[in-house]
């Protein structure tokens, strides 16, 4: 039996500040998690939901409002689709294979954040 190493991807979303679910300590909003999981199950079914191994992970040193989601590479399309259709004022940042790269993208996003969010 050949064992393959599972590949994962990290997606990052920025939830708009005035959303009531973001608290000051940057703890991942439970409402957001619940809504996302519900949407993922609703759109793709519970089997694909569990296969996707979706997790919301806590990463140190990321600015408030950012949520990092980890899931299996094969199911990244399902997760991205569900993220888009979640009823939250959020922006989806590009996905990445490493948290290090994701942090760079967050920094790049922060440069234009004010401009983007004001419009």
């Amino acid at each position: 039996m050949i064992l393959y190493k599972k590949k994962f991807r990290y997606a990052c979303v920025y939830i708009k500040k005035n959303s009531s679910d973001i608290d000051s300590s940057n703890i991942v909003p439970s409402n957001f998690t619940r809504t996302l999981y519900k949407r993922l199950i609703g759109l793709n079914g519970s089997v694909d939901f569990y296969k996707s191994n979706i997790r919301i992970i806590n990463v140190v040193n990321i600015p408030s409002g950012f949520v990092i989601i980890k899931c299996r590479l094969e199911y990244i399309d399902n997760v991205m689709l569900s993220l888009y259709f979640v009823n939250y004022p959020l922006m989806i940042l590009p996905i990445s294979g490493t948290i290090k790269q994701l942090k760079i993208r967050i920094q790049e996003f922060l440069i234009d954040k004010d401009f983007l969010m004001e419009s």
Binding site: K16, R39, G42, L43, D77, M80, L81, Y84, F85, N87, P89, L90, M91, I92, P94, I95, L116, M117, S119
Partner: protein, 161 residues
């Protein structure tokens, strides 16, 4: 609408219902292609003979619309922002209906257009997610983009005549 980022390829769009004489003058002075759009809300009595793009808000009477404007080469536009926050059942039904509409578009010579309908940055949609939506509907993304490019090129030729 911009096909490949060049200034001369920018296609302007104007809502047909909001046109007045001064805006018509502005448009006639413009060198870019202008496509006229209207909104279809399910009433077949409305006349859309001069429209290039019809934004569909309601699928009611859609088949009659196809029959009435058969061969007019109208673009039928659906906005993702209209359905973004609907519940799972409605979304599932939308994906099912839109596939049927896509097939009707092919049969009756309409151009199927899927648009983000974004009015803010929050509503913007990435190409990856857009193509995933197309895939989920059952449309080959390469074919969709090719068809759209051909349709826009045809409109460009028609406008230049």
């Amino acid at each position: 609408m911009c096909v490949n980022g060049k200034q001369e390829h920018i296609i302007l769009r104007k809502n047909f219902d909001s046109l007045n004489s001064s805006s018509m003058k502005d448009i006639s002075n413009n060198k870019n292609i202008i496509l006229y759009s209207s909104i279809f809300k399910g009433s077949i009595e409305d006349k859309f003979y001069n429209s290039d793009i019809l934004t569909v808000k309601n699928l009611h009477n859609i088949k009659s619309l196809f029959k009435k404007y058969n061969g007019k080469n109208i673009g039928l536009e659906f906005l993702i922002s209209d359905i973004r926050y609907r519940d799972d059942n409605d979304l599932g039904k939308w994906f099912f209906d839109i596939k049927w509409v896509y097939e009707l578009c092919k049969r009756y010579n309409f151009q199927f257009i899927l648009s983000s309908g974004a009015s803010t940055y929050i509503d913007l949609i990435s190409l990856k997610i857009f193509n995933t939506i197309l895939k989920r509907i059952g449309i080959e993304s390469i074919q969709y983009w090719n068809d759209l490019t051909v349709w826009l090129d045809n409109k460009k030729i028609m406008n230049s005549l």
